[in-house]
């Protein structure tokens, strides 16, 4: 009986040491786990989707492999309406491994604009809910979640038309120049076209002009759209309609009265 009791005691001690050593080393390994999010990159697909790609650097310097690393993000507008969500799963990160993974968030710009052109002309922010889950030593599940907001830079921030100038071209026609300006606060360059339609007070189209836009990221864009109209059709009051067209979005009309 004494021997069996002693053996039970020995087995118990041995397994306790194993358990505590494993748990302590797994917890200590967290110290050597590095997770860095690099600067996001925005690219456009041919189908009219914008893909926000966030590079993630993972360095597992711990004693054990990491299992089922999963990053899930949900992006919503300030009203809480879901815009997009994305998930990245890495089944196994071996010990000592350095991995670069890309977390992609795909969203349709058109759908975004349907929900509010506010984002086109005004800086704002999005609510992001991020959840990271991983199995330490492939056994201990750990979840980290956080809610934060991400600033949104409007591609046509402070878009406005200046005071149009009228110059007589000949006895029948006028040359009209309409200054336009905006700031590109978006994280991408804005290249595209602006179309401007001029209507008189009776709602009749009297002239139209177009201009190419080349607005690098963070730049102030100023230009003028020049077009010609018949003098007789011009009234003291009327309005302009502006259409914006870029590879990833088409928006319009924006109405600006004149006179």
């Amino acid at each position: 009986m004494d021997v069996s009791i002693r053996m039970v005691g020995l087995a118990s001690t041995f397994f306790w040491i194993l358990l505590v050593a494993f748990f302590a080393s797994a917890a200590y390994s967290v110290k050597d786990l590095r997770l860095n999010f690099e600067k996001p990159q925005l690219r456009l697909t041919q189908e009219g989707y914008a893909v926000l790609s966030i590079p993630i650097n993972i360095e597992n310097g711990g004693f054990y492999n990491l299992g089922e690393f999963n990053l899930t993000t949900k992006v919503a507008d300030l009203n809480g309406t879901k815009i997009t969500e994305g998930s990245t799963l890495i089944p196994l990160i071996k010990k000592g491994a350095k991995i670069v993974a890309f977390h992609n968030l795909t969203f349709s710009v058109d759908v975004l604009l349907e929900k509010g052109s506010h984002y086109l002309f005004n800086d704002s922010s999005f609510a992001v809910a991020a959840l990271i889950s991983v199995k330490l030593a492939e056994v201990i599940p750990v979840q980290v979640s956080s809610n934060f907001s991400v600033a949104w830079g409007a591609p046509f921030y402070n878009f406005h038309l200046g005071r149009p100038t009228f110059e007589p071209l000949n006895f029948t026609h006028l040359r009209i120049a309409v200054p336009i300006s905006f700031e590109n606060h978006a994280p991408i360059d804005v290249n595209g076209e602006i179309s401007l339609y001029m209507y008189n007070s009776e709602g009749k189209l009297v002239g139209q002009g177009e201009s190419a836009i080349v607005a690098p990221q963070g730049a102030l864009y100023t230009s003028s759209i020049v077009f010609y109209v018949q003098m007789l059709e011009i009234t003291e009051e009327g309005f302009f309609e502006v259409y914006l067209s870029t590879p990833f979005l088409s928006y319009g009309p924006l109405v600006f009265p004149y006179g």
Binding site: D2, I5, V8, G9, K31, Q143, S145, S146, N147
Partner: protein, 168 residues
Amino acid sequence: MKFTFQHRFFRMGRWCFLMVEEDKNTRSLARELAFKAVKALLKSFVFYMLYLFVWSFFAQFESYVPGLRQTAENFVVVYLSLGVFGDIFSDTVFQCLFNVARALFVMGYLILSVKNGVFNLTYMGVALTVDLRFFLMAAVLLSLLGLAKAMLQAINYVNEKAELPFNL
């Protein structure tokens, strides 16, 4: 008269003999107790050193988990106390009682401190959830093994005591 004197002398001698025997027993008991106490202290010291070593792995979480060190130290103090009492009262039925108490304490403390095995913590807007159910399950199983050992010890002790008159 002579008989009475002899009888008294004999009784006195016997009393002296008993006194010497009792003194010897007391000294032997004290020596045994001192030995057990030293043994218990040494074991506790080694265990505490081990605790300090293991704690060094968890020290990095101390600033994130409020009360972690206090919880661990409370556990160690009670565990060591029960161990010391068990060692001092070794070879008695109380040792079995203290061993059972220690095994039950380990189980109870783990279950109470880790609750359902899912540990939640919020730090600077980041919510952390650690699922310790695997660890808890293994620890409870090992505690049950410790409890089984303590029960076997108690049965063995009672068994040995029961066999004693027949051996005489």
